[in-house]
C-alpha cells in the first residue's frame, strides 16, 4: 500500500504498463495522439496542444485526468469523443478504430450545452428522438431519467428557468438516457458552488455504481472493492473519463488519476491507482489517511507543472 504507484513517466511505457492488469476490453484507447492547431489568420503559426499522448480507460473504469490550466485536457476529451481529429495517433473504442463521432460515448460539457429552446424534458428526450425512439417511449424514458436525477417535477421548465446545478442534472440525464458505454466529462462541476458540487459528485458516483447493479443484478462483486479490486473489469458499469483541475475531486471519484504536464505539447507524466474503498462519500473520503497520502504523492508531481504553466502564462501576458 505504501508503495508509490507512480509509473515511469516515459512516454509509451505508460501505455504498456496498464493493459496487462486491466480488463480484457479497453473502452477507450488513445495511442500516440498529438494535436497541432494551425492559426486561421496566420497559417505559419502552429500550436501543439498535446504531443504523443497514450491514455486508456478500461471498461467500467473511472479515470480522471488532472493538469494545470491550458494543458490540453479538453483537447484529449474531444479526441476521445470524435469531435476532433488528432494530427497523429490512433483512437480505439472497444478495440475498433474510431471514425467520426464516438457513438458509444456520452459527453458532459463544462459550459451550457442544453438547447435553450427545449424544455428540460424535451432536452432529455432529444438524444432518444435523434436515434428514432418512438415519441411516447422516449417521453416515458426521459421522465424516468429526470426523476433519477431528482428533477421529476421540472420537466416543463426551460433551461433559463433552472439553476446551474439543475441544468447540469438535466445534462446528465440527457447523456445517461442514451445509455452510453463511455462517459466523457469535461470539468462538469467547475461552474457550481462547492455544496452543489459535492452533492453532484456523490450523485454521479451513485448513478455510476447504481448502473452496475441495474445492469448486472447477480454480480458477485463485493460492494467495497477495497485495496485489491477498485476496478473489477467484469462489470457492465460505464467507463468514465473525467477531466478536472481539482485534484481532490479527481482522487475522491476515480479508480485512476493521470497527471498531464503543462502545455504546450503536454503529455501524461504520472499515473496513480486510487485504492480507496467504494462506495465513497466525496466529502468524507477527503479525511482518510490514504487519501491524504495519495494527494501528497500526486501533488508532488502536479505542483511543478502548475508552476510551470503559471510561469508560461505570465510570460505570454
Amino acid at each position: 500500500m505504501s508503495v508509490d504507484e507512480r509509473l515511469p513517466s516515459d512516454r509509451g511505457v505508460l501505455a504498456a504498463g496498464r493493459a496487462s492488469v486491466r480488463a480484457p476490453a479497453l473502452a477507450l484507447a488513445l495511442a500516440g495522439v498529438s494535436c497541432t492547431f494551425v492559426s486561421k489568420d496566420d497559417p505559419g503559426q502552429r500550436y501543439t496542444a498535446v504531443r504523443d499522448v497514450s491514455l486508456t480507460v478500461g471498461a467500467g473504469e473511472f479515470v480522471s485526468v488532472v493538469g494545470p490550466t491550458g494543458c490540453g485536457k479538453s483537447t484529449l476529451l474531444n479526441v476521445g469523443a470524435g469531435l476532433l481529429q488528432p494530427s497523429t495517433g490512433t483512437v480505439q473504442v472497444f478495440g475498433q478504430p474510431l471514425q467520426g463521432i464516438n457513438r458509444r460515448a456520452g459527453y458532459i460539457f463544462q459550459t451550457e450545452s442544453l438547447m435553450p429552446w427545449r424544455t428540460a424534458l424535451a432536452n432529455v428526450m432529444a438524444g432518444l428522438e435523434f436515434r428514432g425512439v418512438a415519441p411516447a417511449d422516449a417521453r416515458a424514458q426521459a421522465e424516468g431519467w429526470l426523476k433519477r436525477v431528482g428533477l421529476g417535477g421540472f420537466g416543463d421548465r426551460y433551461p433559463h428557468q433552472l439553476s446551474g446545478g439543475m441544468r447540469k442534472r438535466v445534462s446528465l440525464a440527457q447523456t445517461l438516457a442514451l445509455d452510453p458505454d463511455i462517459i466523457l466529462m469535461d470539468e462538469p462541476f467547475s461552474a457550481l458552488d462547492i455544496q452543489t458540487r459535492q452533492l453532484m459528485e456523490n450523485e454521479v458516483l451513485a448513478l455510476w455504481a447504481g448502473d452496475e447493479r441495474r445492469a448486472a443484478p447477480g454480480s458477485a462483486r463485493s460492494p467495497s472493492g477495497g485495496a485489491s479490486g477498485a476496478s473489477g473489469g467484469l462489470t457492465s458499469r460505464k467507463a468514465v473519463l473525467f477531466i478536472t483541475h481539482d485534484l481532490d475531486e479527481a482522487i475522491a471519484m476515480s479508480d485512476r488519476v493521470v497527471v498531464l504536464s503543462a502545455g504546450p505539447a503536454s503529455r501524461p507524466i504520472g499515473e496513480f491507482a486510487i485504492d480507496l474503498a467504494r462506495p465513497r462519500d466525496v466529502a468524507e473520503v477527503r479525511t482518510a489517511p490514504r487519501f491524504i497520502e495519495l494527494h501528497n504523492a500526486i501533488w508532488a508531481v502536479l505542483r511543478e507543472e502548475v508552476l510551470k504553466g503559471y510561469a508560461q502564462q505570465l510570460k505570454a501576458a
Binding site: A81, L83, I101, N102, R103, A105, G106, Y107, F109, T111, E112, S113, L114, M115, P116, W117, R118, T119, A126, G127, F130, R131, Y158, P159, H160, Q161, S171, Q174, T175, L178
Partner: protein, 267 residues
C-alpha cells in the same frame, strides 16, 4: 406607471386639438398665411379627415376592397420574402464556399436602394398585385436573410457539439439546432420585416396601380384632396400598428423559451 395610458391619450388629444385650432378656417386669426383657408389646404382638417375615414369604413364602405388588396400584398411579400431569406440564410451560412463567392453580390444587392426597382417590377409584372409583392419581397428578403445568417453563425458551438454527441444527423442538426437558433434572430427582425413588406406594398401602389390604399392616396393627391391623403395615412398607420401587435403576440408565443429579465411577482 398606471397613468402612462392616460398621458398617451392626453398627448394624442392635445395634438388633435392643436391641429384643429391651427388648421380650421375661422377659429384663429390667420398669422402664418395670408388667407385662413390656406392652412386647411396644406394641412387638412382633423374633423374632415375623421369624416373621410368614417365614410370609407361605414357610409360608403368602399375601402375594404383596397385595404384587402394592400394587406394581401403585404402578407404575400412577407411570406415569400421570409421563406426565401430563411432558405438563403441557412444555405449560405452552412456552405462557406458559396457564401464566399456570393458575398460581394449580396453586399451590392443589399446596398442598392431597392425601392428604385419598382418601375422595373411594373414593367415585368404589370400594374397588378404581383409587382407590389415583388417589391416587398426584395425589402423583406435581406432583413430575414442577414438575421438567419447571423443566427446560424452564432449557434453555440457547445450546444452543437452536444447535439452531435447525442447522435443527431446533419438533417436533425438543421431541424433541431440551426433552425430554432436562427428563428430567434428572425423574430427579433420580424417587426422590421413586416413593416417593410407594408412599405413595399404601399409604395408600389403609389407608383402605379388600380387598387389599394396607396392608389387611394395617389388619386386624392392628384386632386389636391389633402384630407383624403391624411385619412389614408391614418388608416395605413393604424393597420401597421395592428400588424406589429400581431407579430408581437406571435413572438411571445413562440419565444417563451427565451429568458426575460425579472420574472418575479410582487405580492
Amino acid at each position: 406607471m398606471k397613468h402612462v395610458r392616460v398621458w398617451q391619450f392626453g398627448l394624442l388629444a392635445a395634438l388633435l386639438v392643436f391641429w384643429h385650432l391651427m388648421a380650421t378656417p375661422g377659429l384663429l386669426p390667420p398669422f402664418m398665411f395670408d388667407n385662413d383657408h390656406q392652412a386647411a389646404f396644406f394641412f387638412g382638417e382633423p374633423l374632415k379627415v375623421a369624416g373621410r375615414i368614417w365614410a370609407w369604413f361605414v357610409i360608403d364602405a368602399d375601402i375594404y376592397r383596397h385595404l384587402g388588396v394592400t394587406l394581401l400584398e403585404t402578407l404575400m411579400a412577407f411570406a415569400v420574402g421570409a421563406a426565401l431569406g430563411l432558405a438563403g440564410g441557412l444555405w449560405l451560412a452552412l456552405a462557406p464556399t458559396a457564401s464566399a463567392v456570393l458575398d460581394p453580390y449580396i453586399k451590392a444587392a443589399n446596398s442598392m436602394p431597392r425601392i428604385i426597382l419598382a418601375p422595373i417590377f411594373s414593367v415585368w409584372f404589370g400594374l397588378g398585385m404581383l409587382s407590389k409583392v415583388a417589391l416587398g419581397v426584395t425589402l423583406v428578403f435581406f432583413i430575414v436573410f442577414f438575421n438567419v445568417y447571423q443566427g446560424v453563425k452564432e449557434v453555440s458551438p457547445v450546444v452543437l457539439a452536444n447535439a452531435r454527441m447525442l447522435d443527431a444527423s446533419q438533417r436533425q442538426l438543421l431541424r433541431h439546432v440551426y433552425l430554432p437558433s436562427a428563428t430567434s434572430w428572425v423574430f427579433s427582425s420580424l417587426h422590421t420585416s413586416v413593416g417593410l413588406a407594408f412599405v413595399g406594398a404601399v409604395v408600389g401602389e403609389y407608383l402605379g396601380s388600380s387598387q389599394g390604399v396607396g392608389y387611394l392616396i395617389l388619386q386624392a393627391e392628384g386632386s389636391f384632396d389633402i384630407n383624403t391623403v391624411m385619412a389614408g395615412i391614418v388608416v395605413l398607420t393604424a393597420f401597421a400598428l395592428a400588424l406589429d401587435a400581431l407579430v408581437g403576440r406571435i413572438e411571445r408565443r413562440l419565444m417563451k423559451w427565451r429568458p426575460k429579465a425579472g420574472e418575479t411577482e410582487r405580492l
